[in-house]
Symmetry: C2
Subunit: 159 residues, 2 copies
Amino acid sequence: MKEQKPAPSTTERYIGIGELARESGCKPETVRYYEQIGLLPSAPRNEGNQRRYTTAAIRRLTFIRHARDFGFSVEAVRELLEMADHPAMPCQEVDTLAKHHLAEVEARLARLTAVRDELKRMINQCAGGSVGQCHIIDVLSDHRLCHQVEPHGGADVIG
Amino acid sequence: MKEQKPAPSTTERYIGIGELARESGCKPETVRYYEQIGLLPSAPRNEGNQRRYTTAAIRRLTFIRHARDFGFSVEAVRELLEMADHPAMPCQEVDTLAKHHLAEVEARLARLTAVRDELKRMINQCAGGSVGQCHIIDVLSDHRLCHQVEPHGGADVIG
DNA sequence: GTAATACCTATAGTTACTAGAGGTTCAAGT
DNA sequence: ACTTGAACCTCTAGTAACTATAGGTATTAC
């Protein structure tokens, strides 16, 4: 991750998992989880077995958090980290990964837009009577009344 | 669900779980799962303990599948079914549920659009050199380089 | 010294299914 | 009637990416 070689100072500051979490915008549980699945290296421990971190960890975790915010899967983040750890590599792979992800995001966007439009249509046509005449229920009951929304498969990330 | 009273014919046709699944666009496992969580009533069994369905089940399952395609959660679908089962009710609740869902969809859409734009920006600025100068890695490393994407919380449905 | 807070591990729960093991039943062909 | 293959059955575990809980230890502030 473009590590600056840690200045071998005698006053290196160590922080606990709570502060690390606050600094990088996630929860301590998540930090431990990332360590467990190997996104973060096992942190060194103090006397009392508590994890101590340096600013390098803040940077790495921020990177992870940020990539996740973009909707990259954990496995994709793992690859991105691997690449970021090797600055001399050509960035073609990074580019490919990003483009692939962009394509997925655009597909989701298209689907979600269709859903939104159809939801709006449904809601606009609701006459406010009884469920028996409800257009929303009608549309859900009968696919022929629906214009755009296609069946799909699994769930996916990003809110 | 706006049931037509089933004509008490002596020639009522029963189908198996496989055909039901095909007719309504999901898999047998999913049908059993929906029965298990109570979205579908327990189906009557034949001599050999296999589930037998009528066309009513096809309609109900299609409704479920369709609502899921719209991104309604299973719990929301449960409520929608409950309402659809009572045609005399005012459809205000249905309307509220749909509007609430629309709002969520629009929020997701906004987020996803921001992600797409930022991904595009990232990709366009990639000079194709080494990872060391890669803008994509830079943006992921440093939130200040990123314009729009906000941290978020959990995962969500719809591809 | 003590009390509040932060930390530890390990396990289970979340959503909406999907996949697999290991066995039974059905429908068709011979 | 017999056999084969597809469809069906139940039960359990696995998926993604965490989150929550229980039950205990360490650190810090007063």
